[in-house]
Symmetry: C2
Subunit: 157 residues, 2 copies
Amino acid sequence: MSVAPDTLPRGGELPASDFIKQLIAVIRAEDSYGSWEDKSDAELLEEYIVTAEERREMPIMGDPDPDLLWRVEKFYDAVALLLEKRSGARAAQMSKIHHEGFGRIVLLSGRLVVLSKHVRDIHRFGFESYDKLAEAGEKATQDAADMVARFPDAAQA
Amino acid sequence: MSVAPDTLPRGGELPASDFIKQLIAVIRAEDSYGSWEDKSDAELLEEYIVTAEERREMPIMGDPDPDLLWRVEKFYDAVALLLEKRSGARAAQMSKIHHEGFGRIVLLSGRLVVLSKHVRDIHRFGFESYDKLAEAGEKATQDAADMVARFPDAAQA
């Protein structure tokens, strides 16, 4: 008999993923006082999970709180670091988020915008499962790497 | 007999400059209630002037106030609009300014970073004269136009 979905841990199992590893490293690097040492990797990422049910209960408009903006920033920091490992391009993050939750996030490498993301409901930022989180991070990294490959001169300028 | 420097108006005379015209248009466009209608163009720009003496009296570190950040934003909005008139490239501004006054301001057009400015003492943002203000705006616009000419494909991507 298969396990019913609601008995699985929230977010599912943590997949083996370079992106997930990078994100965990980015987050653990900020733990200067060791307060998260006892947390498992899945616990560390649990706030990245927003299930379909939780999403339905969220308002359409909402002010993003600082913790959420922090999580978004770490997500794109992990993309930037994984991009650097894979393509050698060093990218810096910039964002312009209106307090109502819409805005734009970019990763810049040299003179190139390697990733550009317009967001409309950032207060709902989250993923149904760790698999989906890994998939989104891998895709963003791949898109950025493709852009570096397309405009290598601008990325090095 | 020539006029002694200290009898000249603060900031000097307003030069004939495309950038100054654009900056005034940007600022007047925000005057929804007509409160600045009676102000001359020079008065409208007077807070862009920081004389050498005023600068000496400013602290080395300082928190930029919202009015100052607004002026910086209008300055780069004017650069972006003048760039569009001259090169056809539409650029959007993004900035990441730490509350202590350092950070980075960029203009992005397509996938290209047409202008990138690292700032360290933004709370002292200002120009000795309207001539210097015009010169700085023209130079920033020219640098951005040069970058568009160098990487036209990325700018159109």
